[in-house]
Symmetry: C2
Subunit: 372 residues, 2 copies
């Protein structure tokens, strides 16, 4: 029950507006630069060093233009018409560091910002903006050897379709033909899809950087669609996990083990998921204790000791969330698991909410703990 | 000079509205179905069996909404306000089969259709719509073994960046560790990027289907960004090919040959490009006769016999375009090349213009001719 309430509360955060830091607001410094996830050559949206975002939308005959980012309860940021016919505005306060989804409301309709790249979230391709984080180096594109992200199309009898997944293979995978790798199955959240962890999560760059620094042994990551779009907010109790569990366990894993050089056993297989992907991870790992040895819930609830029927099969449980979520819950749950002899680690991302910087950081903390 | 004029004329087609078939227009049949490239769960835009497209945009307070698709000279299709506050409209006539880029104009601003998926074209992510083609089977997602499309990030000293490319590897690439493959370097057009040939071109599915039918021997395809966004329409004469040539020939090809199991010699390497990618192919193949043995220009101009300095190095020249472009030019150019002993093949895509169905079909015709 606790799990459900955490996740449903998270949905509201996900689908609502982004939190503004509740600090006294300093004067706005005029050092705005284009967001790093703008479309090529686009100047707006812009972000300043304090985390304010500024928008400019060209729609000379529009009656009203607003942006969903800003102080949630007050309907985001309303733009004002400038002399040149464009609409401009700046968030009332600095935003949390990291990635935020957003959209425009133009004359009562929902559209994307033509200046920003789109990212799949809230069951649609939405605009995205990046507030540079003080620790952004760990997911930056650097001059290190890069692994590949492969789109695969795997056969699925249970759904009668060819289904898509993305597979991260570390640099060197194609060179040493003898080596085999452990695999992390990594799930997105509600309203997202299999593109999320590479596009807005930078999972591949996080791995490239960790490997280049010698902090982890290379492993493969597999990301597929969790069939979560069918779940309406608040409708979790009726969500049937079985169709996805069948695709994942009976179809995708055998395909990966047949077509990639994996270590194809329970002790070299992990499952992790963010938000509703955490719910899926929780459910499937408990239902299939012989498939995964490492479990991770990122802003996706907790495990209680009584849920683990055979402790010897669980090598690690990782629980995380942002400090603006419910950090006490993950800390206490990890302690309770440790108390009964199950290795559990909790992690709290400072000054972030139910958003992707929390999950980028969580992956960065999780990866070195896997497959030891 | 002929090359330039063909390509510049093509740009205008690319960036303008889509042609409507100039036939007598029959009554509109009410069998509209959602376009196959809509966002998940979206009903509009819809397409009927004749090729008409119908749009519905929610923007209750807007003053005017139009769609760039329709009769070019008349500003596309104007939508009318329906009783429920949405804006609706249908193209005045059937559209050509295949894929079309489009955008909305709302109150004087340019936005995407929230119902449609986005595709990178015209130097921005644009809405796309698919008019089902009578021969769509050759690029359909079918129950056949599927190759992978890998995103790679390769180091580029000349530009000081890690650059992105997509690499199609045929099914089985990871199984038979001894086999080596020829490589086709395949370029997008002006305003597009390295995502185009997979997303709107379906190059991977075309290959999967050809391989499954036994019509070709498997090969690798490499698609990277041609740095064409810097070229303004009509500004071709000032376009410097050298930066891209350096990235392609001195950086990407060595990276591919080092990290994939290629047949790393001239006789197993092809270059092809559409529209401005054809201009790049034309220029680079002639400048680097020891790098590529197969040349293909898809709606991208022609070669004249006098341009080929060493006929023995050219195994094949493939020239194609849509029947609504300049088919006589490619036919005559191929004949002239054959006349001096250079193997050349021309292909004309029936009832298509400077759009992606022309290029999907061209790849389908080209692939069986390569690496014989």
């Amino acid at each position: 029950m606790k799990l459900f309430s955490v996740i449903i509360a998270s949905f509201l955060t996900l689908s609502g507006s982004v939190c503004i830091s509740q600090t006294n607001q300093p004067a706005v410094i005029d050092d705005f630069k284009p967001s790093t996830v703008n479309q090529p050559g686009q100047e707006y949206p812009k972000v300043n060093s304090q985390g304010y975002a500024r928008f400019r939308i060209v729609a000379p005959q529009a009656q009203s233009v607003s942006v969903s980012l800003g102080l949630g309860g007050r309907g985001g940021t309303k733009l004002a018409k400038a002399e040149d016919g464009s609409w401009m505005g700046t968030t009332e306060g600095p935003m949390d560091e990291g990635f935020h989804y957003y959209h425009l409301t133009i004359d009562g309709g929902t559209f994307n910002d033509p200046g920003a790249l789109n990212f799949y979230g809230s069951t649609r391709w939405e605009s995205g903006i990046e507030i540079p984080a003080h620790d952004k180096d760990f997911y930056a594109l650097k001059e290190v050897p890069h692994g590949n992200v492969q789109q695969i199309l795997f056969p699925s009898k249970s759904t009668g379709t060819s289904r898509r997944a993305f597979v991260y293979t570390p640099f060197g995978y194609d060179k040493d033909k003898a080596e085999r790798y452990p695999v992390l199955y990594l799930q997105h959240g509600w309203g997202e899809d299999e593109t999320a962890w590479s596009n807005q999560g930078h999972a591949n760059l996080i791995m490239d950087n960790l490997i280049a620094e010698g902090k982890i042994n290379p492993f493969i990551i597999v990301m597929t669609y969790g069939m979560t779009n069918e779940v309406k907010i608040g409708g979790m109790r009726n969500f049937d996990i079985k169709p996805f569990q069948t695709v994942l366990v009976d179809e995708l894993i055998p395909y990966i083990d047949a077509n990639f050089r994996t270590l194809a056993d329970q002790s070299h297989r992990a499952m992790a998921g963010l938000s509703m992907g955490g719910y899926e991870t929780h459910t499937i790992t408990l239902a299939q204790p012989d498939v995964f040895a490492y479990y991770a819930l990122l802003s996706g609830g907790t495990y209680s000791p009584t849920e683990i029927t055979d402790k010897s099969k669980v090598k690690l449980i990782f629980l995380s969330c942002g400090s603006r979520e419910n950090p006490d819950a993950v800390k206490k749950a990890a302690e309770a698991l440790n108390g009964v002899g199950i290795k559990a680690v909790s992690y709290v991302s400072q000054n972030t909410a139910h958003e992707f910087l929390t999950w980028r950081r969580s992956l960065y903390e999780l990866a070195p703990l896997l497959f030891k």
